[in-house]
């Protein structure tokens, strides 16, 4: 064998060995694949729920404000009381009962509640959670801040709240006070600006869970996804088919959501999809639309401090010129489901004080022209700036509809697109607030105060919610009285008066009452929303995973 032949044989031998290795590796890979497939099959017996919402998911429950934060809060943490199913008011959750004595509320806690950390629930945890919630001053802490004089742990399972003065929304406000494990929080406190409480465990609670909720956190990235696992030590029973694991993904694009739903990789969409996408998805096999009465509304805010809308007759004139049917038709998703229902005032049907006897507004040009004659401003000499939020494309359609309607009355109009951040800045002064703003409002509590006080009380002007800049002593008095009255019948009378007064003053055009609609895959059953009489009277609570079942 010469050198060349030797080299060739070596190469052949080497390649031959390699092939042998490749075959062996392929065999090993195949075996691993088969094992993996078996494991996957076992794992797939688990009930897994996949949902999505917009970022970010704030895990610290004291900072929860948006929908994603609230989904996290209501599933990972519990509150003393919870909105009732199928009726207004609140019922027990961590508190099994309570007594009211004037402005003192004494709660008796359940004694079978264990935190995810393993610590049992005590009244000290409630006291700490309240103090932390108010001290941080974020999320929905304004609901309790300034209204509570003291909170004391009477004994291990009794806690007493004393109010500064009568505050009717107090009990419903407690539905936004999540209870955290104070022992673990204190053990994970870093130095900070809250004296002995350091940073109040903010750094820890942004990434970890110290709750008692039906689901515990497995992993959390506030911009990407949160993974949950069922808490098998939960104090309430789970229905058959409740998810074992849940993935909440944040910030998916509409096209991606559509693809994931079609591929069976997503079960429930957020409420933020464009109506045309929802309509289109509703036609796809294996998908359905599920609506939730949000107790909120879409309102067109009129700046009562800028001419010509500083004159109530001009405000009423443009309100009569609006084509309400066209507004509602833009909210329609299918023949059966719409994200809007007609509104007849500022308080949506289902909320205390809503007056079904008030007439529903409709386009009436004769009435509009009569009102316009009484207005001190000449419409031809008045320009109305109609703004719409660039992040909410449907508002542009509404703005163009308004432009066409107002021009019928002879008003000059200008449609202006504003990014949300810019709009919030513009509404800080009456001079910079556009004549017309649009807002979708959902009350944070099942209470009229949550929807009305921050919108109409003169003391809170200067935010995007109160961009009407309304000043009316009667409205202020009624709002204050509504807050201070515990008797429900009496409160109802107050809010009905307020309802009528706001319709008379017309600081808003009451567009429609809103419904929250989501695309849901067949096989997923959201019990509170799909079974009559089981809906909770509070936004997002209906999405508690323990009330969802998977076939």
């Amino acid at each position: 064998m010469n050198d060349l032949e030797y080299a060739r044989s070596e190469v052949r031998r080497h390649i031959g060995n390699q092939w042998e290795e490749i075959v062996k590796a392929g065999f090993r890979l195949g075996l691993a694949g088969a094992l993996l497939a078996m494991l996957t099959a076992v794992a797939s017996a688990e009930k897994v729920l996949r949902i999505e919402d917009i970022p970010i998911g704030e895990l610290d429950p004291a900072k929860a404000a948006d929908v994603a934060d609230s989904i996290l809060m209501f599933n990972v943490y519990d509150t003393l009381v919870l909105a009732n199913q199928g009726k207004s008011g609140v019922g027990p959750l961590l508190a099994k009962s309570w007594k009211v004595d004037g402005s003192d509320f004494t709660f008796t806690l359940r004694d079978d509640v264990i935190f995810h950390t393993g610590n049992p629930l005590t009244s000290d945890d409630v006291v700490y959670s309240f103090q932390r919630f108010v001290a941080l001053g974020q999320g929905l802490s304004h609901l309790l801040r300034g209204h509570v004089k003291s909170v004391t742990a009477v004994d291990e399972h009794t806690v007493k709240f004393s109010l500064e003065k009568p505050y009717a929304p107090f009990l419903t406000s407690l539905t936004r006070l999540p209870v955290i494990d104070s022992k673990s929080a204190k053990a994970n406190t870093k130095s900070g600006t809250f004296g002995d409480n350091g940073d109040y465990a903010q750094a820890y609670l942004t990434a970890h869970d110290l709750g008692t909720g039906a689901y515990r956190i497995v992993s959390h990235n506030p911009q990407e996804a949160t993974e949950f696992a069922r808490n098998d030590k939960y104090f309430l029973a789970f229905p058959d088919g409740a998810p074992d694991r849940v993935t909440l993904r944040y910030g998916l694009d509409a096209a991606t959501i559509r693809t994931l739903l079609a591929r069976g990789e997503l079960d429930i969409s957020s409420q933020w999809l464009a109506p045309e996408i929802m309509s289109s998805l509703a036609k796809e096999p294996g998908m359905k639309l599920v609506a939730e009465t949000s107790l909120g509304n879409y309102s067109i805010k009129l700046n009562t401090q800028r001419a010509p809308l500083d004159d109530v007759h001009c405000r009423r004139a443009i309100a009569d010129a609006i084509d309400y049917q066209a507004l509602l038709s833009l909210a329609k998703l299918t023949n059966d489901i719409s994200s809007g229902t007609p509104a007849n005032g500022p308080i949506p049907a289902g909320v205390l004080g809503a007056d079904s006897d008030l007439p529903y507004p409709k386009k009436d040009m004769d009435k509009a022209r009569k009102e316009l004659k009484q207005c001190a401003h000449d419409p031809a000499a008045s320009k109305i700036v109609i703004s719409w939020i660039s992040e909410i494309p449907v508002e542009e359609k509404y703005a163009l509809l308004m432009q066409a309607n107002f021009q019928e009355l002879g008003f000059k109009t200008e449609v202006v697109r504003m990014p949300w951040a810019f709009y919030t800045q513009q509404t800080a002064t009456p001079g910079s607030t556009p004549h017309i703003g649009q807002l979708f409002s959902v009350p944070t509590l099942p209470d009229p105060d949550a929807l009305l006080y921050n919108t109409y009380h003169s003391s809170v002007r200067g935010t995007y919610a109160s961009s009407q800049w309304l000043v009316d002593s009667e409205v202020d008095n009624l709002l204050d009285a509504g807050r201070a009255t515990f008797d429900e019948a009496e409160r109802e009378k107050i809010y009905r008066k307020l309802d009528a007064r706001l319709v008379e003053l017309q600081p808003n055009i009451f567009g429609y009452n809103t419904k929250t609609v989501r695309v849901v895959r067949d096989g997923i059953h959201i019990t509170p929303l799909e079974e009559k009489g089981k809906a909770y009277s509070q936004a997002v609570v209906n999405l508690m995973f323990r009330n969802i079942t998977i076939k």
């Binding site: 970010i56 942004t206 951040a421 810019f422 919030t424």
Partner: protein, 341 residues
């Protein structure tokens, strides 16, 4: 010593530019409309709560005092807390940056591996059918916006055929390999977890291709133009006259000088992709820095805006410096005419 001097000079330049950028973006972030405290707390927060947050963020202090406070924190590696995520900005960036790096590196690799050969082949087949096809593909790559590519690719490969995953960095049933770099593919390779690597690569394909399409087209067109021009040079005629093989002429004598403008443009494109990946990250649910940056701007999250801009600027400057040095290494005329600063 010469190399050390060049690198030091370049580094000093980078620090100076970063300082100027920080001052500029610190000012611009405060001009963007909206009160960050009010946006963060919502309409229902009391004026007292808003004021508390403004004080905590030093927003009531003069611009100079705010900037000095920022520099003090920055010197300790602290970019403040994000109002949007409520987490330290450094932590947010360190989570989002590897995801974007992974995407941009993959896209950059595709640009080089596909763009340059397409350009060389196109010049080689000048005015023949192959040239026309490549030019058409390159033109399509350049003129079609990246989000259109993203949606088209997703529809084709994830919606209709379900060959590739539609979104995310890993399948829901797969956990990432132990964290080393934050880039899932690299971490999986380091850990020897080929199942995770395969899953991560499958997730990477669509976003990386969508992001790379414009760069591939641009680099192919540029390489073609440069190589075609060099093909007219007399030394190429001389090589042909000597009877050198066409492949040798293309790869050794034409491509190397043609690479200089290509590399410069590639460097700019590569750095641009870091900030410009927003739409791709949005469509494919990729939790990267570009998406984080846009959300920060929309929420007027001052600390996050400044942090993201600084990181992207630093990356841009570093890539440019590397490209300049690479160009000097490739072209002796640049190298010998003075330091690449």
């Amino acid at each position: 010593m010469e190399l050390l001097r060049v690198v030091s000079a370049r580094l000093a330049g980078i620090i100076l530019v970063l300082f100027g950028t920080s001052l500029l973006i610190f000012g611009i972030a405060r001009i963007i409309p909206g009160d960050p405290a009010r946006i963060a707390l919502g309409p229902e927060a009391s004026q007292e709560q808003v004021q508390m947050l403004r004080e905590r963020l030093h927003l009531d202090e003069p611009f100079g005092a705010q900037y000095i406070e920022f520099l003090k924190d920055l010197s300790m590696g602290d970019l403040g807390t994000s109002l949007y995520t409520q987490r330290p900005v450094v932590q947010d960036i360190s989570t989002a940056l590897p995801a974007t790096f992974e995407l941009v590196f993959a896209a950059g690799l595709l640009v080089l591996l596909l763009g340059i050969p397409m350009g060389v082949l196109s010049a080689h087949w000048r005015d023949r059918a192959g040239d026309h096809v490549i030019r058409l593909v390159a033109l399509l790559g350049v003129v079609t916006p990246s989000f259109v590519w993203a949606v088209l690719l997703m529809l084709t490969f994830a919606y209709f055929t379900e060959i590739l995953p539609a979104a995310g960095r890993l399948s829901q049933s797969v956990s990432p390999a132990p964290l080393v770099t934050g880039m899932y593919t690299l971490d999986a390779a380091i850990a020897g977890r080929w199942d995770i690597l395969k899953d991560a690569l499958l997730h990477l394909i669509l976003p990386a291709v969508a992001l790379a399409m414009s760069g591939i087209g641009q680099i192919a067109r540029l390489t073609r133009a440069s190589v075609a021009e060099i093909y007219q040079a007399t030394y190429i005629d001389m090589a042909r006259a000597y009877g050198f093989a066409p492949r040798r002429i293309a790869m050794k004598y034409a491509l190397r000088p043609a690479l200089i403008p290509t590399l410069t443009v590639f460097g700019l494109d590569f750095a641009n992709m870091l900030g410009g990946a927003f739409l791709i990250e949005q469509v494919f649910g990729w939790p990267g820095l570009a998406r984080y940056g846009v959300q920060a701007i929309l929420h007027k999250d001052l600390n996050a805006i400044v942090g993201v801009v600084l990181v992207i600027s630093a990356f841009f400057l570093i890539v440019n410096a590397i490209v300049d040095m690479a160009a000097a290494w490739i072209n002796p005329r640049i190298r010998l005419s003075g330091p690449a600063v």
